[in-house]
């Protein structure tokens, strides 16, 4: 074992609370106290590992430092994929960092150390929820969730795919939560707190699985952290500070029954941190000296407040039980000793630090170990394989998991199959591409190349120097209405936003796949903020309390402030004679200028020349504004329920109005893309009424919309068209005429009908109108009547148009769909009986897809479509479906897929398809069962998309399905899928194979599927087989 204390890893002497090595092993992060702030530093690993690199001045040691945390950073953790770094600190925040590719080295402005940041890591997300210091953060396996725990006694589970969404807040601890660890299998998360308990929570339902208190009941003293750890095989959980016979221990908890029979003893003070080696080891074979086949074992490092570190290997299934009576047998051991007996630690190192050990991290190969301490230093331990054993490769590790849990944890196998020979050059290409995609950051050195182009891009090829020369002349300066100068800054680089950066949502035009609600939020928030600044301030000015209070407060704080100033100046004065102006001036750097805030700026205005007065009047004016805002915020702090409620009410009102005004056109345009307006967005009740249906009695009957005097609706076309209806516009010789008016882009037409109109709707091609007299009229978008009025057998309940299709749902609970272009009936008076009978469900929604498939959703969460060739109702979505709840295919989603598909299927199932939300892949259901459920679910989706004739969704689900098959190794199904997509290679008349599906060429689909298959080396034969055949067909 080698031991190194790299002195250059420090926070200028300030405590280092956390250390974590990047998954690629090239760098590590430390977190702790900075100068009056929290500090996160990213260091290069190479100088730690190799002495020659440490001496080489060209190899940077410090890669990046971030001072953004406002208070001490307690924990830093890399995501498993290495793309993100999460940090939590005393400022109650969790920050998520991502490497920015576009910027070159830079320094922290104003910092004394002129060390350049070699890498740029920027905060892409701030997670605010905790009300106390964040003590520990942890990424779940596969980075699905990020957990953070805090002294506010809670644990927050964040959705790492959709920050800042909170999946769950785990409440139950009654003391400060100081440590977190995920079960490597992903089924549990464990937390340890000052409340003398360790709790294990299920990830399936986020309920508490067990609460372990006994080993902790004696725990008296508090430690800063309680970082517990789960063994890589998932079988054991080892706690931080526990007590046994009044001696400090690290409690071993067995997964099986949460038994607490064993512990690590020996440390003289509380254990602060336990960290399992990520590798599983097997005994080094020494020329047959080990007679029996060696069992794999895990290895665990324990750090304590007693400033010593111990490393314990253990054999799976052969836990060496440390008897509680055993005295700390190594507490007076020499500086460092090796103990070969299994019942003892492999190594104990005393006096490694001057203060408590705070965090431990292992290198990926399992042979190195970084430890950090409150004393502000870190130590690196390097073991040899002789000491720790042979680390199992990932495949062997997976085999162990497979044995224990029936499933492999490594879904992506590519790195572990590195020994497999790649037989096909195409395959190699996909493998390489895949690797390239996975590490967009690339190696450390890849920075500058991809940085410069981006910058120049923004600058239109001008060099920054040129721009700087002329900036003053070129920059746009205007005057605001009140005469103030306003400069438009020159944008020299756009922010390369992370995939969940808020900026992305704010600035990027709406993505077709993202849900309407996310699109709306930025709008709403900005609206409400304007509402705030406009409407609210005056509103609570009259409330007498608040001005009084602010005045009082000003009085309170005023003299105080004056006092302190006064005292200061007194001090200054007394020593002024001798004092260098520098010192007096120094204070000015940190104190906020009294010239800025209102009151004290008054003397300044006195005696100002008329010339300056203009300028100053503006600066005097603005403090007033400030006063207002401040009273605003003070109000908030006071949280006066009355004014709060009042403001809130107003806010909502204002918001709604704003939303209507601003949001509508855009929102609607989005909502309508593929479907012809399943639900018109207009507040017209006539349109909504048909959806809220009464419970059918014996005879099925759907309610009909009431007749309104006038209403208007929007029609989805390329540009938005409006339909306006005015009933009984005029009475001509006893006949009541109703007017239908259509307008788009200034073009408009109107027509008259002889009966009152109940529903009007339209598509890009037609306009359909139903009247009170049970007639249905269809017009072109130019107002020409297409067919004479259709006489409906019953009053109309709902009417939809899409393309050339018209769908009517009649009050008699029958459905008809016509193609008015071909003048044919697709569905003729089909009863809803099959789907409605036997339930007390009602029709909650109905719409027509662009392909003319009628879809009816019921209030019981089921959605059916009517297939006119089979003449059957087909269940396409069921919200209660257990398959949906348990299916888990999230690891088969690519980043584009994550946005969801767009189409009728998505619409019926809800865009964000909570599939597997509860029971993730890591749920309690046995793996094979869940695998089966997911498979069934995906196949359902595929067939539903097919039934709905929704090509894009078919393709979407096909690719997910293919990925799932590839990941889970369903070779037979994969082969069948490929075969169907490929079709017969040789033409034969007997083949009933259709070359297309929903207008998509099957072989094109296969070309898309093949790269997916190519990502798993296991299937390289299959890949080669179909790749070759496709190639062959292409050549023909």
């Amino acid at each position: 074992m080698k031991l190194l204390k790299p002195s250059w890893v420090n926070h200028n002497g300030k405590p280092i609370f956390s250390v974590d090595i990047h998954p690629d092993g090239t760098k590590f992060a430390t977190g702790g106290q900075g100068e009056d702030s929290g500090k996160v530093v990213i260091w290069n690993m190479a100088p730690v590992l190799r002495e020659e690199d440490e001496k080489n001045e060209n190899i940077p040691k410090l890669l990046c430092q971030m001072d953004n945390h406002l208070a001490c950073v307690n924990c830093v953790r890399w995501s498993n994929n290495g793309l993100y770094l999460a940090s939590g600190g005393d400022d109650k925040l969790v920050m998520v960092w991502k490497r920015a590719a576009f910027i070159g080295p830079s320094t922290v402005f104003g910092s004394s150390s002129k060390l350049a940041n070699v890498e740029q890591w920027r905060c892409v997300m701030i997670l605010r929820n905790h009300t106390g210091d964040v003590m520990d953060v942890a990424w779940s396996p596969h980075d699905v969730w990020l957990a953070s725990c805090s002294v506010d006694n809670t644990i927050v589970i964040w959705n790492a795919r959709k920050f800042p969404e909170i999946v769950m807040t785990l409440k139950g601890h009654t003391g400060l939560v100081k440590g977190l660890t995920w079960d490597p299998v992903g089924k549990y998360i464990a937390s340890q707190a000052d409340d003398h308990s360790l709790k294990v929570w299920r990830t399936m339902d986020w309920q508490m699985e067990t609460n372990i208190t006994k080993p902790f009941s004696e725990c008296g003293g508090t430690t800063h952290v309680l970082r517990l750890s789960w063994s890589p095989d998932g079988q054991y959980l080892v706690s931080a500070h526990a007590m046994n016979n009044s001696g400090p221990t690290a409690q071993i908890i067995e997964r099986d029954g949460w038994k607490t029979n064993m512990d690590f003893v020996g440390h003289r003070k509380a254990v602060t941190v336990v960290k399992f080696n990520p590798k599983i080891f097997k005994k080094k074979q020494k020329n047959g000296s080990t007679p029996k086949p060696s069992c794999p074992y895990c290895c665990c490092a324990v750090g304590s407040k007693d400033r010593s570190l111990s490393v314990w290997p253990r054999y799976a299934g052969l836990w060496h039980v440390v008897a509680p009576t055993v005295k700390p047998y190594w507490s007076k051991a020499p500086q460092s000793c090796f103990l070969t007996s299994l019942k003892r630690p492999l190594v104990v190192i005393h006096d490694l630090f001057d203060k408590s050990i705070m965090d431990i991290t292992w290198t990926l190969n399992g042979l190195g170990l970084l430890v950090c301490s409150m004393d502000g230093t870190v130590a690196f331990l390097d073991f040899s394989q002789d000491e720790l054993g042979d680390p199992l490769n990932e495949e062997e590790k997976n085999a162990i998991h497979q044995n224990i849990y029936g499933k492999s944890l490594a879904i992506t196998m590519e790195s572990h199959l590195s020994s497999t020979i790649i037989e096909n050059p195409e395959m190699l290409k996909y493998q390489q591409e895949r690797q390239g995609n996975q590490n967009p950051n690339g190696a450390q050195g890849s920075g500058p190349e991809n940085q410069t182009p981006k910058l120049t891009n923004v600058l239109n090829g001008e060099s920054l120097e040129d721009i700087r020369k002329n900036l003053l002349k070129k920059q746009v300066e205007t005057r605001t209405a009140d005469g103030r100068r306003r400069i438009t800054p020159l944008c020299i680089a756009q922010l390369d936003t992370g995939d969940f950066s808020p900026a992305l949502f704010n600035s990027v035009p709406i993505l077709p796949g993202s849900s309407a609600s996310t699109q709306l939020t930025p709008q709403i928030s900005s609206d409400s903020s304007t509402a705030n600044s406009l409407g609210l301030r005056p509103s609570h000015d009259p409330t007498t309390t608040s001005p009084n209070k602010t005045a009082e407060e000003n009085k309170d704080s005023g003299p105080a402030a004056v006092n302190s100033i006064g005292m200061k100046s007194n001090l200054l004065l007394t020593s002024a004679s001798k004092m260098e102006p520098m010192k007096a001036l120094d204070s000015r750097f940190t104190e906020r200028s009294k010239a800025t805030p209102g009151v004290t700026s008054v003397p300044l205005t006195i005696g100002i020349t008329p010339l300056d007065r203009v300028k100053d009047s503006s600066s005097v004016k603005e403090p007033k504004v400030k006063d207002e805002t401040s009273s605003d915020s003070e109000d908030k702090i006071m949280a006066k329920p009355l004014s709060m409620a009042k403001r809130k009410g107003e806010m909502e009102g204002a918001e709604v109005v704003e939303k209507r005004k601003k949001g509508r056109p855009r929102k609607d345009a989005k909502m309508m893309m593929p479907i012809s307006q399943p639900f018109p967005q207009t507040p017209v009740s006539a349109e909504k009424e048909p959806s809220r249906l009464i419970t059918p009695v014996a005879v099925l009957k759907l309610p009909t919309p009431s007749i309104q005097k006038s209403f208007s609706t929007q029609v989805s076309t390329d540009a938005i068209a409006y339909l306006e209806v005015e009933n009984e516009v005029s009475v001509v010789s006893g006949a009541r005429l109703s007017q239908l008016k259509w307008s788009r882009d200034g073009r408009e037409w109107d027509t008259l009908l002889t009966s009152r109109i109940t529903i009007a709707t339209g598509s890009s091609d037609i306009v359909a109108v139903a009247c009170e007299d049970r007639t249905l009229s269809v017009f072109t978008t130019c107002g020409r009547r297409l067919i004479p009025s259709i006489m409906l057998p019953a009053p109309l309940a709902a009417l939809h148009c899409s393309g050339h299709f018209v769908m009517v749902l009649m009050a008699s609970a029958t459905l008809s769909v016509w193609d008015v272009q071909k003048q044919t009936a697709l569905v003729k008076n089909e009863s809803l009986n099959p789907i409605l009978s036997g339930t007390d469900a009602t029709v909650s929604q109905s719409f027509l897809t662009q392909q003319g498939v009628a879809v009816v959703s019921l209030s019981n969460g089921k959605t059916y479509c009517f297939n006119s060739s089979l003449e059957t109702w087909n269940l396409i979505a069921d919200k209660q479906d257990s398959l949906v709840q348990c299916a888990d295919f999230r690891n088969c989603l690519t980043s584009q897929d994550a946005l969801g598909s767009m189409g009728p299927l998505a619409l019926t199932q809800g865009r964000n398809l909570s599939a597997g939300r509860l029971a993730s892949r890591l749920s309690s259901t046995p793996h094979h069962l869940q695998q089966g459920m997911t498979l069934a679910f995906l196949e359902n989706q595929l067939s539903s998309a097919l039934m709905l004739l929704s090509a894009s969704e078919y393709r979407h689900w096909l690719l997910i399905y293919a990925r799932f098959l590839v990941n889970e190794g369903y070779e037979m199904r994969l082969r069948e899928l490929c075969q169907d997509l490929l079709g017969p290679v040789h033409k034969s008349s007997s083949s009933s194979w259709e070359p297309t599906v929903l207008g998509l060429r099957k072989r094109d689909l296969l070309t898309e599927v093949l790269p997916v298959i190519g990502q798993n080396l296991r299937f390289q034969r299959l890949f080669t087989e179909y790749q070759d055949q496709l190639e062959l067909l292409r050549l023909k």
Partner: protein, 197 residues
Amino acid sequence: MAKVQVLNVAVLDNPSPFGNPFQFEITFECMEDLPEDLEWKIIYVGSAESEEYDQVLDSVLVGPVPAGRHMFVFQADAPNTGLIPESDAVGVTVVLITCTYRGQEFIRIGYYVNNEYTDPELRENPPVKPNYTQLQRNILASNPRVTRFHINWEATLDKMEDSENVDPAPNTMLPPTSMPSKAPPLGLMPDNSMDCL
């Protein structure tokens, strides 16, 4: 954390005659689009002894500020000599650049400024009444003193809306040790100031 980070301030036209306008080229980076303008100020400290002699040379609004890296040159007229105590005209003083967002100051950049006569004769025997035309202003550009303050970047309403992601109460943001007696009178967020020097 701060949405706006000042990356660099370059002092232009330095050293220069006392009467020349101040020019600072400011580069800053913004994490997300700011709905409101930033307000920058240049404050000239006329006398070390009293803030009475502070002069706001100018203030500008800077916006719109989308996410990204931006730069601009802030030019402001030289201080009004009539407001500077005669005894403080020559020697070292300070110029401050401050930036506020929604009326809250979040960064303060200070530079030492040395005003001295270029003419050796004047330097040796400075006139009682300062001769501003002969004074040279030298800003110690290499040694900025940066103080950052924590402010509330969100509109107050956003917080009420987004109940899931509420900011902790602003006044509890403060580490207990740093509660300043010099509480800013404006209900600004109590600062956690960090002097980067």
